[in-house]
């Protein structure tokens, strides 16, 4: 179907689908996990008034934030303060482009794939520093600095965990990684392919922990620790700009989960169906969506279960435990790749 369209039509469809994917996933996560799952865990119902079972609550919240005044602190650096949420959100939208949903249902299918994802995810740090500094508020600045220290520290285990998968798949292309898993075999049995969670289980755990820290979700929420820093780098934001940080937080959770699903859970393929079949362009995105919801469920389950780390514990976990462990994982993977 897509082959009949001209290049610009195809590109327009892919861009639109990318925007839709980010916002749809973010909205689903806020409603299913933040509004409902957490409420049930705490023995309450959550929002019930707007729409059936409160399903339109999110639209009401967006409407509320859109009407609010866009407040600038008097001493703030106006341009930097105003631009910061856009930088953070841009990082999220750049991140989603590498995630594939089917044999033809991809946004960008290039050779650098996962490497591109790791690179653009580090751009959000600049937005957070801009927000923290531009607010002219010492709590914001402290939050921004904490966030930066944390994101730099946990970016390393994140990237090093990915390296194991890249070695095993022999490619950085996200589609290539999916196909490598779909065509893989477990001791000669190819019934369900070979999702890399089986061979890269350690890397998967490291990736999930580092992902939790990159998303600054509890127990890694030192940057926005509300009892110490009001709300960290987001303290001075209101209205639309606060909403952008909020969307960015949940959309990034969804997109990181999608990346983890591709790397470790096999991405969009279904065992038993030929991965190049056209039907996968319809089923693949649904499979991806299900895996995203499952992985983000883990993220938010942990978020609402554990208390936050102290700053030194947080740094020690990254530098003294996760990084050596992921380096050992790379060495072991490389040895198996060469000798077996």
């Amino acid at each position: 179907m897509i082959a009949e369209l001209s290049y610009w039509q195809e590109t327009a469809i892919r861009v639109g689908a990318g925007l839709g994917a980010v916002l749809l996933v973010a909205g689903t996560l806020v409603y299913v996990h933040l509004f409902k799952m957490v409420s049930f865990m705490q023995s309450r119902l959550g929002p019930m008034e707007a729409g059936p079972y409160g399903s339109l609550q999110l639209l009401a919240e967006v409407g509320k934030h859109l009407q609010k005044e866009d407040i600038f602190p008097r001493k703030a650096d106006r341009f930097v303060f105003a631009a910061a949420p856009f930088v953070v959100l841009a990082s999220t939208f750049l991140l989603v482009v590498v995630v594939p949903g089917g044999p033809d249902a991809w946004f960008v299918n290039n050779d650098v794939g996962i490497y591109l994802a790791m690179a653009v995810s580090s751009v959000s740090v600049i937005g957070i520093l801009m927000a923290g500094w531009g607010s002219a508020n010492k709590y914001s600045l402290l939050g921004g600095l904490r966030a930066t220290g944390q994101l730099i520290a946990y970016e390393l285990p994140l990237i090093l965990a990915v390296v194991g998968v890249v070695i095993q798949a022999g490619t950085m292309n996200m589609q290539g990684i999916v196909f490598a898993q779909a065509e893989g075999e477990i001791f000669g049995w190819g019934g369900i392919g070979n999702p890399y969670i089986l061979t890269q289980g350690v890397a998967f755990l490291i990736f999930l922990i580092a992902m939790q820290a990159e998303l600054t979700q509890s127990p890694f929420d030192m940057p926005i620790a509300e009892s110490e820093l009001v709300s960290g780098y987001m303290t001075e934001y209101s209205g639309m700009r606060f909403l952008m940080f909020f969307i960015g937080e949940f959309a990034t959770a969804g997109v990181f989960s999608a990346v983890a699903a591709v790397l470790f859970l096999g991405g969009w393929y279904i065992p038993g169906i030929d991965p190049t079949d056209n039907i996968m362009n319809v089923l693949g995105p649904l499979v991806m969506f299900a895996k995203i919801v499952i992985l983000t469920f883990l993220v938010f389950w942990v978020r609402f279960t554990f208390p936050r780390f102290r700053e030194d514990q947080l740094q020690r976990l990254a530098w003294k435990f996760l990084i050596p462990l992921s380096l050992a994982n790379i060495v072991v993977t490389a040895i198996f790749k060469v000798w077996i």
């Binding site: 050779d111 591109l116 600049i126 520093l129 730099i152």
Partner: protein, 177 residues
């Protein structure tokens, strides 16, 4: 202007879209680079530098060098500028303009800049001359890694030893005991 007209004529042998975007990105880069050295607000200078480096990455993509472009973003924007900003904000996070920056040695910097530019321009002209480089498709990552780990293995190893030395040196300097 003649070059532009030649570019839009149908039988022209050059990549029109690439040239247009090269020009646009180059203008943004030049203005940002000018602002990096003229603004007296240090944080603003670092943020303008982000635009310059992002422009370099975009130019690499126009040349089909995806891997280099992504490395540019990861290393320079994601790490180097972030460390700049981190250092500035930890030490002298003065909001607004910093008058002490105005007295920096502009003449000296201009001389160094001109020298560096002429060396790089000479090297480029000497290497490529009037050659036209045809870019049909983006460079494969596999080609890059094959080149690094076969033909350029010795420079690669030398650089990694150098980086390791720098790493150990940083730890030694930072240690208190």
């Amino acid at each position: 202007m003649t070059a532009l007209l030649a570019a839009i004529s149908p039988d022209a042998d050059i990549y029109v879209a690439q040239n247009v975007f090269f020009g646009l990105i180059a203008v943004v880069m030049l203005y940002s680079a000018y602002r990096v050295v003229t603004t007296i607000n240090i944080v603003h200078a670092a943020l303008w530098l982000v635009l310059v480096l992002a422009g370099v990455a975009a130019q690499f993509i126009l040349l089909g060098a995806e891997f280099v472009a992504v490395t540019q973003v990861l290393v320079y924007i994601g790490a180097v500028v972030v460390l700049f900003l981190f250092g500035i904000m930890l030490t002298r996070a003065s909001l607004g303009d910093d008058e002490t920056v105005r007295e920096e040695k502009h003449a000296m910097a201009a001389v160094v800049g001109v020298l560096l530019f002429s060396v790089m321009a000479l090297a480029l002209i000497d290497t490529w001359g009037d050659d036209r480089i045809v870019i049909d498709e983006p460079q494969r990552v596999q080609e890059v890694s094959d080149a690094i780990f076969s033909r350029y293995i010795i420079p690669f190893e030398a650089v990694s030893v150098l980086l390791l030395a720098a790493l150990i040196g940083a730890i030694v300097v930072a240690r208190k005991d």
